[in-house]
Amino acid sequence: MNNEFRFFPEQASTLAPEVDALTLFVVATTVGVTLLVFFLLLLFAVLFRRRSDDHYPKPIHGNVPLEIIWCVIPTVICVVMFVWGVKVYSNIVVAPVDSMDIYVVGRQWMWKIQHPSGQREINALHVPVGRPVKLTITSEDVIHSFFVPAFRVKQDAVPGRYTSMWFQATKPGVYQIYCAEYCGTEHSRMIGKVTVMEEGDFQKWLSEGAENGQALQGRKLFTKLQCITCHSGNAQAKAPNLEGIYRKHIPISHQSGVKTPEGTKIFADDSYLRESILYPNAKVAAGWESIMPTYQGLATEEELLQVIAYIRSLQQGQTPPRLETTPTPASIQEKSSQKGEK
């Protein structure tokens, strides 16, 4: 570990130099203004010190040009900071479309990470260098925040919803992950490491020990949680066919128990799928009875991610037959292994 003194953390993502350039601009202007204030403060204190006890200066009532100057200059500086800040921010929030997906679940006090290929890690994240990576983040309990200073990005993990963040690492190495949102006793131990690897090494790492793809595990859950009994994808189905619905506009008939106008549609993204499973009545697909039970408490956040990964991957005609025998569900293994860790 290098112990040299530094003012800026390492720059290891495409965003880091952008953020630092903005920072340098803000530092330069604000240090300039601050030094000017300090200088005038001391100068006036010396020049205009009280000479004698009956030194009464003449009042000054105002000076319009001066006042205009000190309104306009700070305003201009602020506008530049604002616009530049928005520019950098939009690069931070908008992930490139070809990003690679990785899923992050925070809980007291660890980060659990799933790769679509089925790799899972705890308090560690392996990513390839030079490829944009998009993290979809949630929490099982309280709010946490996934923070990688070397990448200059941070995103809260909020229970009950998905948030996302992206980065593209620029140099191989190991970087610190922190939990930035206070989350209880071991908040300061909710840390980990991002390992940035060359593409080849990363592919090798991915293939090592990847038992089952995330979607494959989701497929098992789809049967185990009885989704298949209703969403059977055939003519007798009691529920809509889920094949190919991901990222489509779905017609709905009710929202939070209230009838919606004819033709209302909803965009079926990850958050919508999650909501459909946990709060089926929040939005009811048009033409169906709302008979779907809630799966709150029956599936962990990680299992939800797997089921959703499965629905995402589900194409025309791929719904499995109803009576597929399932091997031991992945979730049971997962639960017992967590107990060991805590």
């Binding site: 920072t23 403060l41 006036f44 205009f48 000479r51 105002g62 602020c78 604002f82 923070f147 949102e181």
Partner: protein, 554 residues
């Protein structure tokens, strides 16, 4: 300034050693009951002063625990839970039990009626009730701390605070609820007082700037505090009854809490800082013997800041996943509040320009204030800049920034005010030498403590960390060393002010040559009813001119 005839015997009281003095508000009745049941705004101000000083010491001890722990990277001094409880107690005590009542309730109570030529506030009984609600709330808060503390951080974020924390959150919420009502009633009282009790001739644009600031602050207290009261009540309901409001497992929304919390707590920053801004204008004008440059702009900017303060709250939530468009709007609005604050700094400089500046302790605090408030203000710009806040949010950068505003700004303003009005409050002077020395030590200690934290924050050290990576130790040690110096700086005033209270030289009516009614028209200390006759004001404040010591012109 006012049409007041004064007997020379009073003016020269400082020369006459122990002659039969006119009774003042301190000595006209010595009984304990006369203090506990007092309706006199000045005595209520003193009750607050004593209470918040006790709270400040307690909050300071908590900060000391935190800084000792952080002088090493490992968590070897306190357990993680004790550490979490310490920084929570530090935050809650300093913000709710000390800073929010500090200038408004201490200085406001003492000086507001004196400065507007009133015999008391509009509702003296309500004023006493405010104090007792404060005392009750602080008492309940202490019970929560003694029984085992609260470990949520002063921000009480849900669902941690509502369902996960095993600490005394509900009790603390009840305490804060009481304090909230105290704050609302004080605000109400001051608003009515400024509207209804100004003495003849004291029009709005003749009001001293401190009054404008207190007025704006009171409006914020009145409008903002009910929201935090509701938020805490809902938190209590979810915690005790399990009704889903904020916890998603119960069907609630955790981010809703943050919206409600910051809707109050951002304006609350202005409850702490606005009165300081007003007070510094008084101090700079008095010690420069100059009228405040751009009086009307400063007066109105206090009100503007108060109003704008209500529409920037979501700048605390840029990383929660709020809509990017909302983030841009809130960033923009935040920049627009920055500008009036910046203008205030320039007007103080312009007030000093071609003045006749003298450097007694209050002015030293005033100058230190301008410096630290400037740093606090400009670092706020780092956080309003969206692209930077994502990296800086929830790191030590934020901690450093708000300490520059709240310690460098609010507390130094409070110290300036305390040293400014001390002769009026007690009728006695303190040692100027020790006063300046204290101010200098505080200034140095403060910068040593908090400047390194800006760098720590940019390096990525998250706030509320019990342990941290080894490479950050150097800066943390600097910070802890600075805190030690700061602690020494804070102890000095406790000693020399106590000394002055008993043995200080008699101050005389107007030792600083100030122009506002609190100095020109009352004795030091003032009589129980402030004025022998209600003064009449005939001109703008800050009209400094050569005059016989203590004799009021017009």
């Amino acid at each position: 300034m006012s049409q007041l005839e004064l007997k020379s015997g009073v003016t020269h009281a400082e020369q006459a050693h122990e002659v039969h003095e006119k009774p003042n508000y301190l000595n006209h009745d010595h009984s304990v009951m006369s203090w506990l049941y007092t309706l006199d705004h000045k005595r209520i101000g003193i009750l607050y002063l004593v209470s918040i000083t006790a709270m400040f010491i307690l909050g300071g001890i908590m900060a000391a625990l935190v800084r000792v722990e952080l002088s090493t990277p490992k968590g070897d001094f306190l357990t993680a839970d004790t550490y979490n409880k310490s920084f929570t107690a530090h935050g809650v005590i300093m913000l709710f039990f000390f800073l929010i009542p500090s200038i408004p309730a201490v200085m406001g109570n003492f000086a507001l009626p004196l400065m507007i030529g009133a015999r008391d506030v509009a509702f003296p009984r309500l004023n006493l009730l405010s104090y007792y609600l404060y005392a009750l709330g602080a008492g309940i808060g202490m019970v929560a701390l003694l029984y085992g503390g609260v470990d949520t951080g002063w921000t009480f974020y849900t669902p941690y605070s509502s369902t996960y924390s095993n600490s005394y959150v509900t009790v603390m919420a009840v305490g804060l609820f009481c304090i909230g009502f105290s704050s609302i009633l004080t605000g109400l009282n001051f608003v009515v007082t400024v509207h209804r009790m100004r003495c003849p001739g004291l029009t709005w644009f003749r009001l001293p700037l401190f009054i404008w600031a207190i007025y704006a602050t009171s409006v914020v207290q009145l409008l903002g505090t009910p929201v935090i009261a509701i938020t805490l009540a809902l938190l209590g309901v979810e915690r005790t009854l399990g009704v889903g409001i904020f916890d998603p497992r119960l069907g609630g929304d955790p981010v809703l809490f943050q919206h409600m919390f910051w809707f109050y707590s951002h304006p609350a920053v202005y409850i702490m800082i606005l009165p300081s801004l007003g007070l510094i204008s008084e101090v700079i004008a008095t010690f420069s013997r100059k009228n405040v440059f751009g009086y009307k702009i400063i007066a109105l900017s206090s009100v503007t800041i108060a109003v704008f303060g209500f529409i920037v709250w979501a700048h605390h939530m840029f990383t929660t996943g709020i809509s990017p468009y909302a983030a841009m709007v809130f960033s923009f609005l935040t920049f627009s509040v920055a500008i009036p604050s910046g203008i205030k700094v320039f007007t103080w400089l312009a007030t000093m320009y071609k003045g006749a500046i003298s450097f007694e302790t209050p002015m030293i605090y005033g100058i230190a204030f301008i410096g630290l408030f400037t740093i606090g203000g400009v670092t706020g710009l780092y956080l309003s800049t969206l692209g930077m806040d994502i990296h800086l949010h929830d790191t030590y950068f934020v901690v450093a920034h708000f300490h520059y505003i709240m310690v460098g700004g609010a507390i130094l303003g409070f110290m300036a005010g305390l040293h400014f009005w001390w002769p009026k409050i007690t009728g006695r002077m303190y040692s100027d030498f020790w006063g300046k020395l204290g101010a200098g030590i505080i200034f140095i200690g403060f910068n040593f403590t908090f400047f390194p934290q800006f760098i720590l924050g940019y390096l990525g050290m998250p706030r509320r960390y019990h342990e941290y990576p080894e490479e950050l130790q150097l800066l943390n040690v600097m910070s802890s060393a600075g805190a030690t110096i700061l602690a020494i700086g804070y102890t000095l005033p406790l000693i020399y002010l106590t000394h002055s209270f008993f043995w200080g030289e008699k101050a005389g009516k107007n030792p600083w040559g100030a122009t506002t009614l609190d100095w020109t028209a009352t004795d030091s200390p003032p009589s129980p009813h402030n004025f022998d006759q209600i003064p009449v004001v005939t001109e703008e404040p800050y009209h400094f001119e050569r005059k016989e010591a203590g004799v009021v012109s017009h």
